[in-house]
């Protein structure tokens, strides 16, 4: 039986260690992993716990991330509670198997310390890997700080393993800015954490020899569409389950989470929509602008990226006048993902607030509070003019000449 750790009421943990501690408390059966910066300390910390006798499960060292996720798929199909961690190129190498995991309806938890994708090689944080996974059929949950990395890991097992869902879950955190930044974290005790997550009850597990099943079968045009449609429905139907898991988590932790986190939006004229640690920095900028310049600024951060909270994000945004959608991934010849998805959501409202797109922070480029304030001021100008006064997509924090695309046609 694994030893327990007597945690303090307040620990100072970085996001990686918070993830490793939550994984330890979840009493996982199998972790198959191939470490990569900046998620390495998650796997390292977990392996340390195992070596020190705090974990009963198996730790499988593999030869690549493709093998790591394949090992997770095998162990999950066999009927085990399974998790791993990765970043960037490792995530990219896992992609083929990510689709296998979701298609086979295997509740694996994958911690992703978000990092840029090469080339050029870069180890620092942006959301390229997170965006790469957004059509993979996984639930994607985003943590804005180390506390939330811990909390969302505990919730991720509950969501993915729910018998109405049975889907794999990613828990995202910003590489370095969250993964390597130590902050105050209030963990649950080992007993309370495990009690919240609960014992894993597998379904259709391969090791149930009394009831043989097939995993990973071939379906052509006869059944493939029905399988994928059911998978999509399970993901869409995860929305109320995620809400109920968050509600139960609030009962044990006192910390309240929603599918879309909103700050100061009740009277907000201008709102920034962002992901990761930027949500918190934007809250600080919004508060300062309210105090210093009287700009009614608010912030909206999707806690859950998939299933995309089309309903909840529309509720949060429909009454403001101008929205800045901030994407931390090179959009590759399109408008950014958040811009596209937020625009689609608010297009179905009566007031249709103005939406513009800001590309920022690629490869770990710092986003300063003054940069965020400048965005809010542009949004305020849009709100006052009743039309978009800048180009629709702008790169900010970029060296060299201004890079921006597309003019509004409003008023023409």
């Amino acid at each position: 039986m694994a030893e327990k750790i007597d945690l303090q009421e307040i620990e100072v943990w970085d996001g990686n260690y918070a993830a490793a501690q939550a994984m330890r408390q979840a009493q996982i059966d199998v972790v198959a992993a191939y470490p990569i910066t900046p998620s390495t300390p998650i796997v390292e910390g977990y392996a340390n716990f195992m070596a020190d006798g705090y974990i009963d499960g198996e730790f499988v060292m593999v030869e690549s991330e493709h093998a790591a996720m394949s090992g997770c798929v095998g162990a999950a199909a066999a009927g085990g509670r399974v998790a791993t961690a990765t970043s960037s190129q490792g995530f990219a190498l896992m992609v083929e198997v990510l689709y296998q995991a979701s298609g086979m309806r295997l509740p694996i938890v994958l911690n992703v310390a978000n990092r840029a994708l090469a080339a050029p090689l870069n180890v620092r944080g942006d959301h390229s890997d997170m965006y790469l996974g957004r059509d993979s059929g996984w639930v994607q949950i985003d943590a804005f700080n180390a506390q939330e990395v811990y909390d969302m890991n505990l919730c991720a097992f509950r969501v993915g393993e729910h018998h109405d869902i049975r889907l794999p879950v990613m828990v995202h955190q910003d590489g370095f800015v969250t993964s390597h930044t130590a902050q105050n974290v209030r963990p649950l005790s080992d007993d309370d954490a495990y009690k919240f997550i609960g014992e894993y009850k597998p379904m259709d597990e391969l090791l149930d020899f009394s009831r043989p099943v097939t995993h990973g079968a071939q379906t052509e045009e006869d059944w493939h569409f029905e399988h994928k449609a059911r998978q999509h429905k399970a993901l869409m139907d995860a929305r109320p389950v995620i809400e109920s898991v968050f509600a139960e988590f609030e009962k044990v932790s006192g910390r309240k989470y929603k599918r879309v986190e909103s700050y100061m939006i009740e009277d907000a004229e201008v709102i920034i929509v962002a992901l990761g640690s930027t949500v918190e920095s934007a809250r600080l900028a919004a508060q300062q602008l309210r105090d210093e310049e009287g700009i009614k600024a608010g912030v909206v951060g999707p806690r859950v990226i998939r299933p995309f909270p089309f309903d909840a994000i529309r509720d949060a945004l429909e009454n403001c006048k101008a929205i800045g959608a901030m994407d931390r991934s090179c959009p590759g010849g399109a408008l950014g993902m958040l811009f596209n998805e937020v625009s689609a959501a608010v297009y179905t409202t009566a007031k249709r607030p103005l939406v513009t797109n800001y590309i920022y922070g690629l490869g770990g480029r710092d986003l300063a509070i003054v940069d965020i304030k400048a965005i809010f001021r542009e949004l305020k100008a849009n709100a006052d003019a009743g039309k978009i006064t800048t180009q629709i997509q702008q790169f900010i924090g970029l060296r060299g000449p201004k890079l921006a695309f597309f003019e509004t046609r409003e008023g023409k």
Binding site: D14, T37, R124, Q183, S281, L367
Partner: protein, 187 residues
């Protein structure tokens, strides 16, 4: 909000120092943040680590800061890094050096109008004498406790012992000596 910037070389323990400081500060009921700018930096490369300390939850994640304290734990970096970058009229500098304060300031033009805010000690010699290796982070913490006045020395030592509790007693004792000596020697 108190903001601290550490100038260090990768391997000298600035990250450990910043996190150790964070651990101790968290026990006083304050919120902390400890982070570093490194990543694929090789041992010996110049790097910076940072602390933020506040009464409220810290939601600022920009790397940019206007430091209240600049802690230089490698003697050469006082000369080669821009240690006065983004400073304020109140920023205090604690620099590890074998030189006297006058000798140091005479050689660094950027410090010449800030002399009353510059404090020096020889973290390298102190750590060699006490810990037996050149690990300047522990002495710098002792100097910071003295100059910042943020803690009583005994309180800090007591908390630091808990942070280091996974290490052998000999290492804990030598770190306590290093912190105490630095506290008394910084000027």
């Amino acid at each position: 909000m108190v903001e601290i910037r550490w100038h260090s070389r990768a391997g000298q323990g600035a990250v450990t120092g910043a996190k150790g400081l964070g651990d101790v500060v968290s026990t006083t009921g304050k919120q902390v943040q400890a982070f570093a700018l490194y990543g694929s930096a090789k041992r010996g490369a110049a790097m910076q680590a940072y602390n933020r300390i506040d009464d409220e939850q810290i939601i600022n994640h920009e790397k940019f800061m206007l430091p209240d304290f600049v802690l230089v734990i490698d003697p050469a970096l006082a000369f080669t890094d821009n240690i006065t970058d983004n400073d304020k009229s109140t920023t205090k500098y604690i620099v590890t050096t074998h030189l006297s304060k006058d000798e140091l300031v005479a050689q660094i033009p950027a410090l010449q109008d800030k002399k009353d805010r510059v404090f020096v000690l020889d973290c390298m010699q102190i750590s060699l004498d006490t810990i037996g290796r050149a690990v300047p982070n522990a002495p710098m913490l002792g100097a910071f406790v003295k100059i910042s006045g943020m803690f009583e020395l005994d309180y800090f030592l007591d908390r630091m012992k808990k942070v280091l509790s996974k290490f052998p007693q000999k290492i804990i004792d030598s770190n306590m000596q290093a912190i105490t000596r630095a506290y008394n020697e910084v000027k």
